[in-house]
């Protein structure tokens, strides 16, 4: 009879032996291929949905420590109980041990500081030797509730002011804990890239402003990179609404039938493991089995954005008590049934939000301006004169980015001129994890 200790020690030896065999062989070919662009999907809809299969991805060290931190931006002003879990702004940091430049990263529409693209950007930039601060998008509920002065995202200047305010608080906190920061950089993807342009401009305007303390005379971002930004939020929302109509001709009425069909096809294949939509290789396998049409892919992308819009509209509505889709005098509690409001929110485009909620808040303060002016004001072209003289602000995007309306890419090229890197394919953010794209981004901040 073998003793307990005997069994355990044998087991332990085996575990250790097996553990030593687990180290993957170093992939030497990967670093040589960093500059070679061979992203596999030429269909922009496919690229946007599937992202980058693992064999094309940049190799990043997995040991970077990502710290989730919380911040109280405004004192007082309790949020309704329904947001009990959402009482502080959440952001993340990846810090170096010694002095280094600090890069702020702004998330895209409806994304928070730890969304897939954000974690990937954070790890890549940290591996390149930078301090990284990941910030949620001003369109994310956590930001709307905790860091937006108006609780109404979408107006470029006020979003920039909110973001800059958060950046100052985070910067103060890092300096208090004696993190050595040599200079400041800024980036963001999708809507976050668009935000970054306005943040850089506002920061420059406020620099040297007497209201600022001597210590904080503006960040003076030395390098700014806009990753797949829209030219005009108005144009891009129209494009995205059209995607939804394309895949769902009956509108949201057809949503359940659409999902049921997709899930039935997915379920027809045996698999004992949970459906893992975070894993791009699972996505590729599912895609190959389901063979979705372009219209169906467009609908999926349109739906993802529509859901982000629904979250934004409800959150802004509750926080401003506008009585838009949620009754003005109804308390928003964690026990409040929301099904009816979800059904309305899914039928509410960001254009409705611009027309009804944002316009009503901003137009009275800007006499002589129309709704149309407000929509046109969401284009980077309105700050084009300033942008075209900014050698520190670069653009990286794709020839086939699906959120750009016809003509938008030409306009972006006109604004940024030679400070542009255009990849031939990749859709919207599909190629972000490709090693050549990752290499371009990290090179931009380290060269």
């Amino acid at each position: 009879m073998i003793s307990r200790a005997g069994i355990l020690s044998v087991a332990l030896c085996l575990l250790l032996a097996a553990g030593c065999a687990q180290h993957p062989p170093a992939d030497q070919a990967a670093s040589d291929a960093a500059s070679h662009y061979d992203y596999p999907f030429d269909n922009p809809w496919t690229a946007t949905v599937l992202g980058t299969p693992s064999q094309f991805q940049a190799q990043l060290p997995a040991d970077a420590r990502i710290d989730r931190r919380t911040l109280r931006v405004f004192e007082g002003g309790e949020a309704p109980e329904g947001f009990w879990h959402n009482d502080r702004l959440q952001y993340s940091t990846l810090l170096q041990d010694g002095e280094a430049p600090l890069v702020f990263v702004i998330a895209g529409t409806g994304a928070d500081d730890q969304s897939r693209h954000m974690l990937m950007l954070g790890q890549a930039l940290h591996a390149a030797g930078l301090h990284v601060v990941l910030l949620p998008s001003p369109t994310h509920a956590n930001f709307i509730v905790n860091a937006s002065a108006t609780h109404l995202p979408g107006y470029p200047e006020s979003d920039a002011a909110d973001l800059l305010n958060v950046m100052r608080l985070v910067d103060n906190r890092l300096r208090e804990s004696s993190v050595g920061i040599s200079r400041y950089y800024l980036t963001g993807y999708s809507l976050g890239g668009w935000n970054a342009a306005y943040v850089a401009k506002l920061d420059e305007e406020q620099a040297g402003h007497p209201r600022q303390s001597v210590e904080r005379s503006g960040f003076g971002f030395e390098r700014v990179l806009l990753i797949n930004p829209p030219l005009s939020v108005y144009h891009s929302v129209k494009e995205i609404d059209a995607m939804l109509e394309r895949g769902l001709p009956d509108g949201i009425y057809g949503l359940d039938a659409f999902l049921n069909r997709a899930l039935a096809r997915l379920a027809a294949y045996p698999s004992a493991d949970a459906l893992n939509f975070q894993d791009p290789d699972f996505m590729v396998a599912a895609y190959q089995r389901m063979r979705p049409t372009e219209d169906q892919l467009a609908a999926v992308i349109g739906l993802a954005f529509r859901l982000a819009a629904a979250n934004l509209v409800l959150t802004s509505d509750v926080m401003t008590q506008a009585g838009y889709i949620f009754p003005r005098n109804r308390p928003f509690l964690s026990k409040t049934p929301m099904s009816d409001y979800l059904a309305v929110a899914l039928r509410t485009s960001l254009l409705d939000y611009f027309d009804d909620m944002l316009a009503e808040n901003y137009l009275p303060r800007k006499p002589g301006r129309s709704r149309r002016d407000l929509l046109d004001g969401t284009s980077l072209a309105t700050i084009g004169e300033w942008l075209s003289h900014q050698d520190r602000i670069w653009l990286i995007t794709n020839q086939d980015d699906i959120i750009l309306a016809p003509g938008d890419l030409d306009e972006l090229l006109r604004l940024f001129g030679p400070r542009t890197r255009i990849f031939p394919n990749g859709g919207h953010m599909g190629n972000l994890q490709h090693r050549a794209v990752t290499a371009f981004i990290t090179d931009y901040f380290t060269r």
Partner: protein
């Protein structure tokens, strides 16, 4: 993907009873006293009754369910996630995988029982083989040798058995600590736990390693395996979205064909 635990937990039958008792006083949400919003179902659609149906799952116990949902989110925030974070920090991933394999191997017992109850030899045979291979060559289940040999894990639980024999899901339920379920699967979960606790032959359970099974390691591993974090969607509609996703994911799990063994060429 969604919060669900497997394993013996004496609290659950009690909480089920409590849930059933409180469920009766839930649907007290009259909407008459509220000023209608500018955009309502009436203004965005010509057929409000049909328009309401989007992503909708019947939820007669919504009031109680939503309270339990908040309780679960708080339990996660203050207890389970900190424990899982500490576990991930302290225990190397190789050992964490061994722990997971060990408990999944124990779970084969109820997969086997239910495969038999479902009269499905195509599930029962590989499951029996898996349990025997992994419990011996796999060192009490620490290693999942069977999967590497091409014998995939099957899906079978008592909720599924009830479904196979024609039971309806019953109302949607959010179970304390366990998360989204329904009346049928809640009964199934309770029966599976009872099976594990009482029906395992002592010749199997007498082995030393199994003495460590019912410690805090099991709930830790169970929570560790599920990447879902409450309120990480950032959506004020998270309750509705989770309700929909959990319901369809479970439907798929129950209806999907059993994975076939693959034989290496």
């Amino acid at each position: 993907m969604l919060p669900r635990f497997a394993g013996p937990n004496p609290l659950v039958p009690i909480s089920l009873v409590l849930l059933l008792a409180t469920g009766g006083c839930s649907g007290s949400s009259g909407t008459g006293q509220y000023e209608p919003p500018r955009r309502s179902l009436d203004t965005v659609s010509t057929d409000p009754a049909q328009a309401r149906d989007v992503l909708l799952v019947s939820d007669p116990l919504e009031g109680a369910n939503r309270r339990v949902y908040k309780f679960n989110a708080q339990l996660d925030q203050y207890v389970l996630v900190p424990v899982v974070d500490a576990y991930q920090f302290a225990v190397p991933s190789f050992l964490r995988r061994r722990v997971t394999s060990f408990f999944l191997n124990l779970g084969e017992i109820s997969i086997f029982t239910n495969s038999v109850l479902q009269a499905s030899p195509s599930k029962a045979t590989p499951t029996l083989g898996r349990f025997m291979i992994n419990s011996t060559f796999g060192l009490f289940g620490l290693f999942d040798v069977a999967t590497e040999l091409g014998i995939p894990r099957q899906i079978a639980d008592f909720g599924q058995t009830l479904a196979v024999w024609g039971a309806d899901t019953g109302p949607y339920l959010v179970l304390p600590a366990l998360g989204p379920s329904n009346m049928r699967d809640a009964v199934g979960t309770a029966v599976d736990w009872a099976t594990l606790s009482f029906a395992i032959p002592s010749s199997i359970l007498d082995k030393t390693v199994y003495d460590y099974a019912p410690t805090g390691l099991q709930p830790t591993d169970a929570r560790y395996r599920i990447p879902f974090r409450y309120h990480s969607t950032g959506s004020p509609f998270e309750y509705e979205l989770v309700r929909y996703a959990a319901t369809v994911a479970r439907k798929i799990e129950i209806n999907s064909p059993s994975p076939l063994p693959e034989f290496p060429e």
